[in-house]
């Protein structure tokens, strides 16, 4: 029950991230998903690795916040308006939650696998259809988060070292997003990735 609730919170964070037009709101959703994700495990991670992941998440969120503050608060936005994307992600969670016992039996917490699949759907939307650096970077972070959630669902909770590695890879990906965002802003004054008419020649 608790694991299921944590899974719902993670998916809600991913939905906010994928559906938001405002980059600050998207940052909030991403942070929520990253903060709660390590808690979908039975047993819970040891204190030190858990703290490492939470601190890494907060540091990453701060870096994204700085990027948004110093560049532009609005993203290119979801391609289908936001509600459709949110519905897809939520549906993926419900379907995966329903089907996981049939497919995955006793391999790990069902909530983790279902949340992983739902977050992967959100990541796919962001990575494939992103129109700006912020959404692309958020998609990359969610893709790796989805993989680590699926890992918990498929093979049980990670060890302390793996938590350190997961926290590091997520932090480095956020750092890469912030760096890329800075470069994009320096190059053309916004974060968009689509070619401008004058770029096309």
């Amino acid at each position: 029950m608790v694991l299921g609730a944590a899974g719902v919170v993670v998916v809600a964070g991913a939905i906010v991230c994928v559906a938001a037009l405002d980059a600050r709101r998207a940052t909030l959703g991403l942070t929520l998903a990253l903060l709660v994700a390590p808690l979908i495990a039975d047993p819970l991670p040891p204190l030190v690795p858990l703290l490492f992941r939470e601190v890494a998440t907060l540091l990453g969120a701060y870096l994204l916040w700085i990027l948004v503050r110093d560049t532009q608060p609005l993203t290119a936005g979801p391609l289908l308006g936001g509600r459709a994307e949110a519905a897809f992600v939520a549906a993926a969670f419900v379907v995966a939650f329903g089907l996981a016992p049939v497919v995955g039996h006793d391999r790990g917490p069902i909530a983790a696998l279902a949340a992983g699949i739902a977050v992967a759907v959100a990541a796919l939307d962001l990575v494939v259809f992103s129109g700006d650096v912020f959404r692309l970077g958020a998609g990359a972070v969610l893709a790796l988060l989805a993989a680590t959630l699926a890992r918990v669902g498929l093979a049980g909770p990670p060890g302390p070292l793996e938590h350190l590695v997961i926290g590091s890879v997520l932090l480095v990906t956020v750092l890469a997003t912030a760096h890329l965002g800075r470069e994009a802003f320096a190059a053309r004054g916004d974060l968009t990735l689509r070619r401008a008419a004058h770029d096309r020649g």
């Binding site: 989805a146 093979a155 990670p158 060890g159 994009a184």
Partner: protein, 492 residues
């Protein structure tokens, strides 16, 4: 403990260099010093020593030692080359981070942790994936790189746990094993830029600083390959499943990449694109070796990995030097480059001999063993044709260099070493030391291009010497990967 020390020094130097970005020279100095310490620590690693954290163990192996030592040495040479040709100050710190990630990934057993550690290095590469002066085009290319690295990392993590259960390995299931194998192969194909995922890799070779290209396209994907190969041999191979369709599809994609990469490399007019497509082409060998699922290919695949990274590093170094000396990377404008820069020509020939292979060299034997072990019939001939086409593309560059010198070659920068201007004489021990430092700095400033040529030559000859006399490489390549941890045991 030494593995832990290596990881700490590598990431520490990288973090300090990153923080020093506003002071580029300081950042470069920190990065170079970090790489030098990493080289020493790598040489001090001994087999079997390690560090345990919560049940998972980082274990040093002979392969890890050779990989890290070569990586640190090549990174030092490339970073100095970058400074000599165009002030690429940020590259050294990123190389250090990549070595830290490599140490963690290769010291761990085949597990999601290893795949994630390999991804850390890949994502960190974004810091040098853009142009020195960012423009919209280079940002787009860097964003494609991030997309590819994240996708490959996520797929590799999922594949590496697909066959593991919370209560141990799941029962043998051909479908599940096949899905896991194809997922891991997909991760490799995306990460190496194999066909049809090649577009970002080819563009990256054009926009990224030249000395960062081997890191992004060769060293970092090679780490993921080493992890994936260890996983396939620890988890998939013991299941003794045939998996003909999955293996055939992966090997087929490898052969296609081998052929089309060679064609792409042949028809390009920019030498940086030629390098990009030559990396794409060689990704074919990795896919073929991975898809073969053959115990006999464990050693050739791991041996080939060393020559691949050495050859691509030398090739990218050659491009950086040619661009700095001749002021262009367009092949039609490089008529007579080899006559004007004979030492660079020797460097290119050595790099090509290491990478493409010449009978008698260890790299040739490794490539031959991979193709002969994994293919037969028409597929083998197609693979050989792809390999052979690589020589055509390389020969084209050399032929252009042997033509009568064109306008660019005649106007090329002076590559002869010069004596720096004399300093006023001073007395006393400290001023004398100061004078030596000034002299070294003045010699560096006056002789950037000759030094760049020498560094390219050193890089290329390092690879060639190791291909002629492999030294520790065969022993390192034979050794098995670290043993798996209890929670992710391979199938019965």
């Amino acid at each position: 403990m030494a593995v832990g020390a290596f990881v700490a020094v590598a990431f520490g130097a990288s973090a300090l260099a990153f923080l020093a970005r506003p002071l580029p020279r300081l950042g470069a100095a920190i990065g170079l010093a970090g790489l030098a310490v990493c080289l020493v620590l790598a040489l001090l690693l001994t087999d079997g020593e390690g560090l345990s954290i919560g049940g998972e163990r980082l274990t040093a192996t002979a392969y890890l030692r050779v990989f890290l030592a070569l990586g640190a040495a090549v990174a030092l040479l490339l970073c100095l080359l970058g400074l000599a040709t165009g002030g690429q100050h940020h590259v050294a710190g990123v190389y250090a981070a990549a070595l830290g990630a490599a140490a963690a990934a290769l010291a761990l057993p085949a597990s999601p942790s290893a795949a994630l550690a390999a991804t850390i290095g890949g994502v960190g590469g974004i810091l040098v994936a853009g142009a020195e002066r960012p423009d919209p085009g280079s940002v787009r290319v860097a964003s494609r790189y991030l997309r590819a690295v994240a996708a490959a990392g996520a797929l590799a993590v999922v594949a590496s746990v697909w066959l593991s259960g919370i209560y141990g390995a799941i029962p043998i299931d051909p479908l599940a094993t096949g899905v896991a194998l194809v997922t891991m192969a997909l991760a490799l194909a995306i990460r190496f830029g194999a066909f049809p995922f090649h577009a970002w890799a080819a563009r990256l070779a054009e926009t990224a600083p030249q000395v960062a290209v081997p890191l992004l396209l060769a060293w970092l994907p090679a780490i993921l390959f080493a992890v994936a190969l260890a996983w396939s041999h620890q988890v998939v191979l013991p299941q003794t499943l045939e998996l003909p369709i999955e293996r055939g599809a992966i090997i087929g994609l490898g052969i296609l990449t081998l052929v089309l990469g060679a064609v792409g490399s042949w028809i390009q007019d920019d030498v940086d694109h030629v390098v990009g497509y030559s990396v794409v082409q060689d990704a074919g060998f990795f896919l073929i070796a991975f898809g073969a699922l053959d115990r006999a290919l464990w050693e050739p695949a791991r041996t080939w990995l060393f020559y691949f990274v050495l050859a691509k590093s030398a090739l990218a170094g050659w491009v950086a030097a040619v661009r700095a000396i001749h002021g262009t990377d367009r092949l039609p404008e490089l008529d007579g480059w080899a006559r004007r820069s004979p030492l660079l020509a020797i460097g290119l020939v050595a790099a090509l001999a290491t990478g493409l292979g010449v009978p008698g060299l260890a790299s040739w034997d490794a490539r031959l063993a991979i193709l002969e072990g994994a293919t037969d019939g028409p597929a083998r001939w197609l693979a050989f044709a792809g390999w052979g086409l690589g020589y055509v593309a390389a020969g084209r560059i050399l032929l252009v260099g042997l033509r009568r010198q064109g306008e660019r070659a005649r106007a090329a920068a002076d590559q002869r070493p010069h004596r720096p201007p004399p300093e006023p004489s001073v007395s006393g021990p400290l001023p004398h030391l100061l004078r030596l430092v000034r002299l070294a700095a003045a010699t560096w400033e006056t002789n950037r291009l000759p030094l760049a040529t020498g560094l390219v030559l050193a890089l290329a000859l390092l690879g060639l010497v190791l291909a002629v006399a492999p030294g520790p490489i065969p022993v390192a390549a034979q050794g098995g990967p670290p043993l798996p941890s209890a929670g992710l045991a391979p199938g019965p």
